[in-house]
Symmetry: C3
Subunit: 271 residues, 3 copies
């Protein structure tokens, strides 16, 4: 059996498991992404919970299957809530995902991302510019969008994964998942995806959901999350006239996703 | 004339009144639900106003037809704004609705819901697990979703309504409205509704809108809000392929709702 | 060549420039409008960045093409972030737009809008009631919706533009843009637009995007933003059954907008 088929079976198995177990995914995410993220998790079969304030975020994290931290619209108060949530998650053995949105844009974000990285995320999901900058190289991203290609971030992603001891998922025209040793490339998706806000943020939360049902299989979880997203994007594009009709079609596609949809998004080893 | 027809006429009369009077509904709700709640209120014919900070929430409440308080993403600052808004509403004779989202999940939420209940809401809207836990019984909800059936919450809802001197609306596969004496059961809706985030939150705000145009008729307002939601859900399902296409279809259905749509959602006395 | 054709060419030229330059629009906007605003900017061809907290908003503003400030859900903390962002924008020569949502509703808002006006926005976008109240006359708006017609706000808009030395865009059934000397009237749009929340808020952000690519042409930018919105609204209405299906159709229309769509929304000199 080829790698692709093995991986495909892994992704489908994990997706079915996600739907059966409906993992509770605690999200501390940006204001733009909250509604969208909740709808993506629900459509995929997970259960979202947005719980952010430091007074309860750590306590709640112990109840969650996984935690997703996104720094898209940060503030000192929310940063406190993130740290409390991560501490609570780690005390309870709950995995967590970091989405370092535009982490290089301001001094406040650079300090925040450094402090969050020091807490050792289970996985990191970002665009190419964010991952290159996080690995210490010099990326071209000016804000939330990426000026670099995923291919150009492959080495930075590997380095970051090794340095952090985590899985890194870089998303863009193609996606790349790596644990620092093996790297896998996921094709598919739609050119309309970057035209809809918060798609990447929602994928980070879905990644947390997959990790929550796949203990010890973080790389496979990252491939599955990316492949499910790519397959839903590809399917949605067929029903979309533009970014407006793409979003409902994407949520429908997630909800209705079949093995045959996953088969249209090949996974291959990245050299 | 049967109960159903009486109630149906009540609901339709109240809905027409809502559309004519376009009540100004002040919402202090969670970040996930804000956009959705505003769109639901607009589609139904009410006028939304999200005004949350303590510096103005009480002053604004005196201008509103009704106030809706939802504790889905609470923080100490927002809790202050909630208390100020309720105080302003009560001083001006403006009714208010409590949506106790996941109130049993953390110590912070338990304290908050206790303090909010002490201010005596006009009505409470929750899922079965939330209502059972609020009535002091032991529910099974772990977060924002409900692990209990509405039927199993019927007695808890009555107890809570009597203890609080308010109307309780429990929503789920069927809905139940009670003032502690009479209980009414509303059928209809769609299995896609729990797959879309913040539907319950939006219903709480719409309930506030109905109460705002139905002084002294809180139970009838709760039945009307639930019936309108159920009818729009039933209608939307016919045009939906999944949760993504359901939401726009639901807003369209609210906007276009006719008496004949309400007739498809029977109301009956709950023994 | 008539005024209309001149203006049309201006609007189309500016829209093509917006799509080519993808201006980075920093938005500090209300919670209801954030997702919607980001999607409108993306569909139109601009690049959104929601960066609000005082610890970074001023630093980020220097990177932006334009800044949009909307006071729909204000708080003292967010007000600080607005002031810091404006200071940063002005130090870097970045233009900014003020959307004074419901500024007359509470004492807190009245103080905030006074302080923001003192910082001299490049442009102001509001509904008729908001603009009349801002010009010192007595409007009828009670909250986020407008009780006054755009026509009735024409003189107030001119006065406000002159007093502030800025461009004022009043939106409603027809739109009106003025720099205090010339006033232009833009027709088009759809009766469904006020049934969808945050349309005006999103237009303010798009206005900022247009101003960002049209230095020294603020009035032309305001006409272009209004005309693009009106044309997308007119086009979307053809595909919509109600406010729910209108929104995705509107985003699609923005994404696919052609010169022929703009031609359906005439611009004329307002006497």
């Amino acid at each position: 059996m080829s790698l692709q088929n093995t991986q495909l079976n892994d992704s489908w198995t994990l997706y079915q498991r996600l739907r059966e177990q409906t993992p509770l995914v605690q999200c501390i995410t940006n204001y733009v992404a909250m509604n969208m993220t909740a709808n993506v998790l629900l459509a995929a079969g997970a259960s979202p919970a947005m719980v952010h304030c430091a007074e309860e975020s750590g306590e709640f994290a112990a109840l969650a299957s996984a935690l997703s931290i996104n720094m898209g619209t940060p503030s000192p108060q929310w940063a406190e809530g993130m740290h409390a949530a991560i501490a609570g998650a780690q005390a309870a053995g709950v995995p967590w995902v970091l989405d370092p949105v535009a982490h290089a844009a301001t001094g406040f974000r650079r300090q925040l991302v450094t402090a969050l990285l020091a807490r050792r995320p289970t996985a990191i999901r970002g665009n190419a510019s964010e991952i290159i900058a996080l690995a210490g190289a010099s990326g071209q991203g000016r804000g939330m969008d990426s000026g670099d290609s995923v291919e150009s971030a492959a080495e930075a992603a590997r380095q970051l994964a090794r340095a952090q001891g985590c899985v890194v998922l870089v998303t863009g025209e193609v996606d790349l998942a790596t644990d620092g040793q093996r790297s896998q490339r996921i094709e598919g998706g739609s050119a309309l995806m970057p035209q809809v806000t918060a798609m990447g943020c929602a994928l980070s939360a879905l990644l947390a959901g997959f990790i929550g049902v796949a203990p010890g299989q973080t790389l496979a979880a990252a491939v599955a999350a990316a492949q499910v997203f790519a397959a839903a994007g590809l399917k949605a594009e067929q029903h979309a006239q533009g970014p407006g009709s793409f979003l409902p079609a994407f949520l429908d596609a997630l909800h209705l996703l079949q093995l045959s949809d996953l088969q249209r998004c090949p996974v291959s080893e990245q050299p």
